[in-house]
């Protein structure tokens, strides 16, 4: 009797189990495009991109598939491609900007995307008294007021002239742009705590051709919305992939295995060795270039920043000596295995930057790829140092140098190892000072707690020179020990030359993008950097991104350069629209 009862219960339970099985719709592998992501997701159920939780999630498909930018900056041409916006123009004073919105754009719930949404989003940022929402501080600095002229036109009245207003905030200059949120959903919510997530209510929504299917800290899935507005509006065809997946990959070993087995279609940056293993396992895998360096340069060239307040490096001749000792080709060869190129200036070497780079180099302010140790030693000796055995000495003290380095990646520590060896060979008792990521960014770099720091603190410019140059003006000066605003001018460059540099850079900052006067001003400003060496540009940054052509082709490459290949950026809409099925 008892056995029978237990048996009946089991059968009922089993039936209940089977009846609740609900599988998501199956999509064949060849219709699925799978990306790798390596960011930490603490809360997969927050899609408020203005909070840290949602900001982490935007790169896992949200801003590549669901939220579209207004414009996308093309790194090769330097032009701004229209997307949700068709144009953004300023008045002559550069302090009133007018945005035109594309006709026919709709949210995935059917509501029209219009000027009210833009005004709502910007006013929300202006109204954030805590200034902790992403870009709230920026909008509060620059925007006096914003108004809808009509359904498809928005006018931004700025607090002062800003020639970069469009490119800095609305055109995916680097990684992100300000994302417009749907007023009809967000109105009345507290933007500081709203999560914009409710699977049953169909949230989040965007204007993009994909909607969220499932969301987990290790995996994000998006399915194509075949009613996407772009087709009816004649903007773009539907993208080819039916489904997009972002899969969390923890280690380079996993990355190698997954793309070798075609379990992911595109992977985050790998080392040259890993890439060679992948290509040996899977001949369908390609990269930005067909041969060395294989990789794409990301916008943050590597460099050394020198703390100009600490002796003997407060002496410009001693800093110049350090610069002459650096052999960039050795760094490329030993630290990067040939996957990058020496920098000739502080700037990233994109097509759109070449007029400025060429002018600086032509004026004689560019960096050489190899070292001139003799010239360096002559400079050091002229300052009263004498070589005693292996190292220079003066008044009984050895010439020492600490190189601060973030130990988060072997790329950084390998480079500093090469540099330290070059300094030691030249007679400076140098040593690396590795610190963890949060110490580097949170304490050591901003407070100037270093003699020399390896990093990419001039990173910013991608299509115009001001953004990077502005980071070294005296406007950011702070005493050593206190954080430098924006982690700018952390070396505390403060001299007559620095003041003169600041004046020229400020002038550049007031000119419209593309103004022909800018090139000469850049050369003039750069002459002060060349004279006082507050920074030492090293090499271009490198991203060796493997893409598999087994299921998808037409990836961005140096030959097929419709735009850069950073698939974790807001600009990746272009990649998703461009890929084509392999068969």
């Amino acid at each position: 009797m008892k056995v029978k009862a237990i048996f009946s219960v089991l059968v009922v339970a089993l039936l209940a189990v089977v009846s609740t099985v609900a599988l998501a719709q199956d999509v064949p592998r060849e219709e699925t495009l799978i990306f790798d992501f390596d960011r930490t997701v603490t809360d997969p159920e927050n899609y408020n991109p203005f909070t840290p939780a949602g900001n982490t999630n935007r790169g896992n498909g949200a801003h590549q598939a669901m939220w579209e930018p207004l414009f996308i900056l093309n790194y090769e041409t330097g032009e701004i491609d229209p997307w949700l916006g068709t144009a953004m123009e300023s008045n002559e004073g550069l302090d009133v900007w007018t945005l035109s919105i594309r006709e026919g754009v709709a949210w995935s719930d059917g509501e029209a995307f219009n000027a009210e949404d833009v005004v709502f989003t910007i006013e929300m940022l202006l109204g954030d008294e805590t200034a902790t929402l992403s870009n709230a501080a920026d909008m509060q600095q620059w925007v006096e007021s914003v108004e809808a002229v009509d359904d498809l036109t928005v006018q931004f009245n700025l607090t002062g002239p800003n020639p970069r207003f469009q490119v800095d905030f609305f055109a995916v200059r680097v990684v992100n742009s300000i994302l417009i949120m749907p007023e009809h959903i967000w109105a009345g919510e507290d933007p500081l705590t709203y999560t914009f997530f409710d699977a049953e209510a169909g949230l989040p929504i965007g204007t993009g051709p994909y909607t969220l299917t499932s969301s987990d800290s290790t995996r994000f899935m998006w399915d194509r919305n075949d009613d996407w507005w772009g087709v009816a509006a004649g903007f773009e065809d539907l993208p080819a992939p039916s489904r997009l997946i972002w899969e969390s990959v923890a280690t380079e070993d996993s990355r190698v295995q997954l793309i070798s087995n075609d379990e992911i279609d595109v992977a985050n940056s790998v080392s040259l060795v890993a890439f060679e293993i992948i290509q040996a396992n899977n001949p369908n895998v390609i990269a930005w270039e067909n041969d060395l360096p294989y990789s794409w340069a990301d916008p943050c060239p590597r460099q050394l920043d020198i703390n100009t307040t600490i002796a003997p490096w407060d002496n410009a001749n001693m800093r110049e000596a350090l610069s002459l000792i650096v052999d960039r080709e050795e760094i490329v060869e030993f630290a990067y295995e040939g996957t990058t190129q020496p920098s000739s200036t502080m700037f990233v070497q994109y097509g759109s930057m070449s007029p400025f780079i060429d002018a600086v180099v032509e004026a004689g302010y560019g960096e050489t790829p190899t070292a001139d140790v003799e010239a360096a030693q002559a400079l050091i000796e002229a300052e009263g140092w004498t070589l005693n055995g292996d190292f220079y000495e003066k008044d009984g003290e050895t010439l020492t140098l600490n190189v601060l380095v973030n130990n988060a990646s072997t790329e950084y520590t390998n480079t500093v190892d090469v540099l330290v060896e070059q300094f030691v060979d030249a007679g400076i008792d140098a040593a690396a000072r590795p610190v963890d990521n949060s110490t580097f960014w949170g304490a050591a770099a901003p407070t100037g707690d270093y003699e020399v720091a390896y990093g990419w603190l001039s990173c910013s410019s991608v299509n115009e020179p001001w953004a990077s140059m502005n980071r070294y003006t005296t406007n950011f000066l702070a005493p050593v020990g206190e954080p430098a605003p924006g982690i700018n001018n952390t070396g505390r460059w403060d001299s007559e030359a620095a003041e003169a540099y600041t004046a020229v850079v400020e002038e550049i900052g007031t000119l419209p993008l593309g103004d022909p006067a800018i090139v000469d001003l850049v050369v003039e400003a750069y002459s002060y950097i060349d004279a006082e060496t507050p920074i030492i540009p090293l090499v271009q940054a490198t991203k060796l991104l493997p893409y598999s052509t087994t299921f998808w082709t037409n990836w961005p490459t140096a030959e097929n350069n419709f735009n850069h290949p950073a698939f974790w950026w807001n600009s990746a809409h272009q990649i998703i629209h461009n890929v084509e099925p392999a068969s």
Binding site: V17, V18, T20, V21, A24, D26, T40, T42, D43, N46, N48, T51, P52, A53, N55, T56, T130, A131, T132, A137, D138, R173, V174, V175, N176, T193, T195, T213, S214, S217, T218, R219, E247, S248, V249, A250, T251, D253, S254, Q257, L258, N261, P299, C300, N437, S438, T439, F440, W441, G442, A443, A444, P446, C459, S460, A467, R471, P483, G486, I487
Partner: protein, 338 residues
């Protein structure tokens, strides 16, 4: 069987709360001793991700004010203790506005189910092997083979994890390489597809833990079995002609396993923190991963919340064992009274 005197119970409870207060204070202080602070680290990360951040100083000040990090340390401490009393751990800094409680609640079930299963299996396998290693009827080949399997005990669990991952997930493809279930393809809930998916995803991480830890139980059990083997009652049992299996189970294992049970209860307390790297390697969304990532991001509230949880669990397990011991082993009485 001894009864627990009230004075002993009160004293034990006092120690329990004192331990928790002491530990809570330490986990408040230690993260603050590290250079830098979480807000600067967060803005630094943003800088790193986005090239540069205009107005980062305004952002840093805004966030510091929101998390009370602009207040003096004593003020922060008092507020922290007050919040602990109501189990309010505040918000994660790195994933604001997600409450710390939610972060823990999302991760805890995975860790509990994975580790509890792994630990129970480890305990059972380890003790069983330890017992038969000493049993006189065990075939010699088996006795030779068991110590060989224990070679895994000497390697770190993260290496075992990588070994299993490479062979069984990548080369053979028998098991998935990451996640706790087939996200997006099965619906979480009480259904076969989901349960099967969870088991498939949990097998390799569980195996990584079992492989490296069963040896401790085996050795401990073997030691206890040697002691038991020499007891007079063993000779009596055999002289009575009792069946070998009956002697093994009733006379040997039941006596030898008592201290192992105590040790097991204590390890249950450390359950959650146990396998941070195994979770990381398998991208298993449990507490280990949460703690690892919170430490990297200097996310004070999450570190504090998770550590507080772990300490409370350990203290609770020790308290329970202390209180239960007189019931498990009648030869022992609470408070040293007999």
């Amino acid at each position: 069987m001894g009864k627990i005197p009230r004075s002993y119970l009160l004293r034990r409870l006092g120690i329990f709360f004192l331990t928790i207060w002491f530990a809570a204070t330490i986990i408040f202080i230690i993260p603050r001793l590290a250079p830098g602070d979480p807000i600067s680290a967060m803005v630094g990360d943003m800088t790193q991700a986005g090239g540069d951040v205009e107005n980062s100083q305004a952002i840093i000040e805004g966030w510091r004010a929101r998390f009370g990090l602009d207040k003096s340390l004593p003020e922060q401490y008092v507020r922290y203790l007050g919040n602990l009393l109501t189990l309010d751990f505040g918000y994660s800094i790195n994933a604001f506005p997600t409450p710390v409680g939610e972060v823990i609640a999302r991760a805890l079930p995975w860790t509990l189910s994975l580790l509890l299963l792994a630990m129970v299996l480890t305990f059972a396998i380890g003790n069983f092997l330890g017992a038969i290693l000493m049993w006189r009827y065990t075939p010699r080949l088996v006795k030779m083979f068991i110590p060989v399997t224990m070679v895994f005990t000497s390697i770190p669990s993260v290496l075992a994890a990588l070994f299993l991952l490479y062979n069984f997930a990548y080369v053979l493809g028998w098991f998935p390489d990451a996640n706790a279930y087939n996200v997006g393809e099965v619906v979480p809930g009480f259904n076969l597809a989901f349960i099967g998916s969870v088991i498939r995803h949990g097998t390799l991480p569980a195996l990584a833990i079992i492989l490296v830890s069963f040896g401790y139980w085996t050795l401990g059990m073997r030691g206890m079995m040697i002691t038991v083997e020499g007891e007079d009652y063993m000779q009596l049992a055999r002289a009575k002609g009792l069946a070998p299996f009956y002697v093994l189970y009733r006379y040997m294992i039941r006596n030898a396993i008592l201290p192992q049970v105590t040790a097991f209860a204590i390890t249950l307390g450390t359950l959650v923190s146990g396998q941070v790297l195994v979770e990381y390697v398998f991208q298993y969304p449990g507490m280990g991963k949460v703690i690892y990532e919170a430490i990297l991001a200097q996310d004070f509230p999450v570190i504090q919340g998770a550590s507080f949880f772990l300490i409370t669990m350990t203290a609770l397990a020790v308290l329970l064992v202390d209180l239960l011991y007189p019931y498990i082993d009648p030869r022992i009485s609470a408070g040293g009274e007999s």
